[in-house]
């Protein structure tokens, strides 16, 4: 940057401002700027004003910053410096679109300014303006053809646009200029990047030739081997592939994919042959776990029995805590499950009598082997949901060694699976308090507490590991601790505390915004460090980051909340809709009010204390860097007042539809939103996709019925849309007979409780007069064989009045469930929750 219109003295000062800005000496920068401006001739000097504004921005004085920068720009609209600075200011406030416009204006006055072009390119890739990015990158390359960054940047732009040929050409042209230079790691990365583009373009042969011809220059040997093995396999060169994967296996015998690829490279063998290959590998590294686990997966019958017998004894003797989870994947095979169960029972009896795994064994075992066998037995029975037996064995284990923490965790899990979260919390908290320094126990306990609705207790537990002088919840949010947020949302949803649900869900959403923001720094960094394969991986990850389950969970609660707010708009700001308040008895209302007051009071107290502490702590805390001003907090009470809940829901629904189309839940939620919005085509699409992802999703019965009804009563009769609807509905409901369709569905899925229930709801929807009859068949449904989850689901949805049940009906259903799941709190006749919380 140069200020052409200043005399030498001022010009020197101006250069100093720039220097100070680069070196983050903002205070002195400000001083120099004031010196120039104090000269009456230059007090309106545009570029100085702009730089002063930029410096102020870095000191966190946002408002003054904007004033100065804008004033500077007004005084010199033809200065690229002023425009560039305005762009930088906007960028620091994440207004990327505006910033791009400013950069473009700046380039009008200085079209080849490298710094501005670079800044522009960063914003373009960040906002995924890929075409713009390509153009800017091309211009940069033309200006600096002798720099590596120019070539590589242009190649990346082409690659992201899928122009593989061009990208490869650029890289190859660049590589020619590098001949004769010693190969370093960055050059090696460049070669591998080139290969990765070839693979992506489907040019396997070429990629293979490429990596072989540059074998000596590629220093990342593991990547080279992985690529070579994969490419040989793709080209059908199985022997070569096997050889490479064997080498990889020797480098790391614990990598399961190497073993699988090695076995697969031997062609389509049966499990028997594969098993032999696997065992051959295992012999080379007898202590490796991965080949052995793979052998367990492949083997069957007596071979499996022999293998797993030895394995179990070794691991139980050693006391490997996650043994059960390691083996869990085998249980899908009922025979393997039974074999393991039989073996463990054998150990149990034998250890009890002879202190040996089998009466014939030579060695006497430690008491710990017996202990681990009992725990494993409890886990096996818990897996089968045989709560009584599971508890029997875990209690024996706890009697045997009451100081061992793991059985407490297992016991807690058994209760969780039985539906008694209160008891589960009791045992997990026992475990936690036995080792307060264990973060895993702490998190697990906090999670269970949240599940049981004990929000305060969970916060208290978490506070042991969060920063002091700050409320635990705030710190967890700051640390992007998403499970805590989604679990909180879950319990708030259950309590119908809509404001807090939205607060938590939007906090999660905000974290995803931040994660996407955070990639900004990687654009220049990755280019400089030449970690291009990882960089491309990062770009793609960021593009699909909202497909993560944390987002899915938050979206689920948020959308369902918005649906509720649409159906039952808020009457006041207390966080409850009309419906709930009306349904409550006077006593309940009073109880709720006083409970709320107490909670609020306690919160305030804690906050005050925390503030006192944090004020003290803040004193030595540094100012946030780069003038970042804390974003406005998300306030659930504001969010819940929304006028357009369905529009707000789209913020969560759009990413789900784009990034999680494989989840049945996505289409379930989508239908509910579109149905309320009256968007017929999208309703059809949602039902179609739901059927495609999982045709057995229970809600499809109801949604299909609602769709058919909608078409019948509100569908358009003419025009192109009507045509499409007709065609699509013809496919979905060939006979145009929803009753018949429901009957067919019932014959396919009707034995499943949730499906049966939803079918009844669909019929009730279709023929409201039959509601009582539908309800009765739900109450008559034989529950035996149903899961706890589906019973809870039906109870939940019965409560939401779909079938108009009376309290007695609900009690009837609940008591049937209670008979099946005696421990589950959801079905307990009285309300023991409150009492047991006090324990």
């Amino acid at each position: 940057m140069m200020a052409k219109d200043l005399p030498p003295r001022e010009n020197t000062l101006f250069k100093r401002i720039l220097k100070c800005y680069e070196n983050k000496q903002y205070k002195s920068g400000l001083k120099h700027a004031r010196q120039i401006l104090s000269n009456s001739k230059y007090q309106e000097h545009g570029e100085t004003l702009a730089m002063m504004g930029l410096t102020l921005n870095c000191l966190g004085r946002k408002e003054e910053a904007y004033d100065n920068v804008k004033r500077g720009l007004r005084n010199n609209l033809r200065s690229h410096v002023c425009w560039h600075v305005f762009g930088l200011l906007q960028r620091s406030d994440k207004k990327y679109e505006e910033a791009i416009k400013c950069y473009r204006n700046a380039l009008k006055w200085d079209k080849d300014n490298l710094q501005i072009l670079r800044d522009l390119s960063l914003l373009q890739i960040q906002t995924r303006d890929l075409d713009g990015y390509k153009m800017t990158r091309h211009q940069l390359l033309m200006l600096r053809a002798n720099q590596r960054a120019g070539w590589v940047g242009y190649a990346i732009a082409l690659h992201t646009l899928g122009e593989y040929e061009n990208a490869l050409n650029v890289l190859q042209t660049f590589r020619k200029t590098q001949e004769g230079k010693p190969a370093d790691y960055e050059f090696s990365e460049l070669l591998l990047y080139e290969a990765s583009i070839m693979v992506e373009a489907g040019k396997f042969k070429e990629a293979l030739t490429h990596i072989y011809s540059h074998r000596d220059s590629i220093l990342d040997i593991q990547s080279w081997l992985e690529m070579a093995g994969e490419l040989h396999a793709r080209l059908g060169e199985h022997e070569d592939s096997a050889e490479v994967f064997e080498e990889l296996y020797q480098r790391n015998p614990e990598n399961a994919t190497y073993i699988e690829s090695y076995v697969r490279a031997h062609g389509h063998y049966n499990d028997e042959d594969s098993l032999q290959l696997c065992q051959k590998l295992h012999k080379q590294h007898p202590r490796a776990e991965a080949p052995f686990n793979y052998a367990l997966k492949l083997s069957t019958g007596s071979t499996f029995r022999t293998l797993v017998d030895g394995y179990l004894q070794r691991q139980l003797r050693k006391g490997v805590p996650p043994l059960f989870n390691i083996l869990k994947h085998l249980f899908q095979d009922k025979n393997k499950f039974e074999t393991i169960k039989e073996l463990i029972h054998g150990y149990y009896t034998s250890l009890e009598e002879h202190k040996k795994f089998t009466p014939e064994s030579e060695d006497e075992e430690f008491p710990t082997s017996y202990l681990h066998v009992m725990i494993f037995l409890a886990q096996l029975y818990d897996y089968e949901r045989d709560t009584t037996k599971a508890l029997y064995y875990i209690d024996r284990a706890m009697q045997h060694t009451p100081t061992y923490i793991d059985p407490y965790m297992v016991k807690s899990k058994i209760y969780k699976h039985a539906g008694d979260m209160t008891e589960a919390v009791h045992w997990v908290d026992e475990a936690r308090t036995m080792d307060l320094a264990d973060r895993y126990l702490n998190c697990k306990a906090a999670k269970y507490m949240l599940r049981a609705g004990m929000i305060d207790k969970a916060e208290e537990a978490c506070a042991l590991f969060t920063r002091e002088g700050q409320p635990a919840v705030d710190n967890l949010n700051e640390m992007q601790c998403m499970w805590f947020l989604t679990e909180s949302a879950r319990i708030y949803f259950k309590n119908q505390d809509w404001a807090n649900v939205l607060q938590k869900c939007h906090e999660v959403e905000k974290h995803f915004v931040d994660i996407v923001e955070d990639q900004f720094d990687f654009h220049p960094y990755s280019m400089r460090k030449m970690t291009l394969r990882a960089y491309i991986g990062l770009l793609r990850l960021e593009d699909s980051i909202r497909g993560h389950q944390f987002f899915n969970k938050a979206a689920d609660y948020a959308i369902r909340t918005y649906l509720h707010l649409y159906d039952k708009p808020m009457s006041d700001s207390n966080g409850l809709g009309n419906g709930e308040i009306d349904d409550m008895t006077e006593k309940e209302k009073k109880k709720l009010e006083s409970k709320k007051k107490r909670a609020a009071k306690k919160k305030q107290q804690q906050k005050n204390e925390a503030n006192v502490n944090s004020n003290a702590a803040n004193k030595d805390k540094k100012q946030p860097p780069d003038g970042e001003v804390a974003p406005p907090p998300i306030v659930g009470n504001e969010l819940v007042k929304t006028e357009a809940p369905l529009d707000d829901a789209m913020k969560f629904l759009d990413p789900l539809r784009a990034l999680s189309p494989q989840c049945p839940n996505t289409h379930k939620l989508a239908f509910q939103v579109f149905h309320r919005q009256g968007k017929l085509l999208l309703m059809i699409q949602s039902v179609k996709r739901a059927l495609k992802t999982n045709a057995r999703t229970p809600e499809i019965a109801l949604h299909m019925t609602q769709l058919a009804q909608y078409v019948k009563t509100k569908g358009t009769s003419s025009g192109i849309i009507a045509e499409i609807v007709k065609t699509e509905m013809g496919e979905l409901l060939p006979q145009n007979d929803i009753r018949e369709w429901l009957n067919v569905r019932e014959s396919l899925t009707g034995t499943n409780l949730k499906n049966f229930f939803m079918l009844r709801c669909a019929h009730a929807h279709l023929t409201p007069e039959s509601t009582a009859q539908q309800l009765q068949s739900v109450l008559d449904f034989p529950l035996k064989g149903s899961t706890l989850e589906s019973c809870e689901y039906v109870l939940d949805h019965l409560n939401s009045e779909m079938l108009n049940p009376t309290p007695e009906d609900i009690a009837t259903f609940s008591s049937s469930c209670h008979a099946l799941f005696p421990l589950a709190t959801a079905f307990r006749p009285s309300k023991p929750e409150e009492e047991s919380v006090q324990r």
């Binding site: 006391g319 006497e364 430690f366 008491p367 710990t368 060694t401 009451p402 100081t403 036995m434 320094a437």
Partner: protein, 165 residues
């Protein structure tokens, strides 16, 4: 015979894991110890230890220095091991530790402790380490039967400590 020697290690008692000591003592001893006992245990350093058997807490020892009649003695308040883990060397490991402390300190006249008169297992154990019954306290225990206790002591003055380690 077991497959290989078990791993028996001693570890520190901290505010974080003290509950394990409480659970252990509750199971091993008929006597309940008060909060002060557990508070003091945190401050005595090497005089209180947990014993880990294959990484699981199965035993513990808690001592204090006892000054009376001009003598400085090391008093073992508790030394215990869970039932299933007895005769595996846990007690020896704990007692060895106590005797090592006494030896390194060099200023102790003796190590002593109380044992309920009916506790043959304990008497046998301490006998192996040269502890002698030197006294019987009538009605030593308040809430358990028999209420009498032997006083077991191992004198450290004649240099016998070294032999036994």
């Amino acid at each position: 015979m077991p497959v290989a020697a078990p791993r028996i290690e001693l570890g520190e008692i901290t505010p974080h894991n003290i509950k394990q000591l409480k659970v252990l003592n509750q199971v091993v001893f008929p006597v309940t110890y008060n909060d002060k006992f557990y508070k003091d245990v945190l401050d005595v350093g090497e005089l209180a230890k947990l014993a880990f058997f294959n990484d699981i807490v199965v035993g513990a020892v808690c001592c204090r220095t006892d000054l009376q009649e001009g003598q400085r003695k090391l008093y073992i308040m508790t030394l215990g091991c869970l039932g299933p883990y007895r005769r595996c060397g846990v007690g020896k490991k704990l007692l060895d530790h106590v005797m090592k402390i006494a030896k390194e300190d060099g200023q102790y006249d003796a190590i002593f402790l109380h044992v309920q008169i009916s506790n043959d297992e304990a008497l046998q154990f301490y006998n192996k380490f040269d502890f002698k019954i030197i006294d019987t306290k009538q009605d030593y225990y308040k809430r358990i039967e028999p209420a009498d206790a032997y006083v077991l002591e191992k004198s450290l003055k004649c240099g016998k400590v070294e032999d036994s380690i």
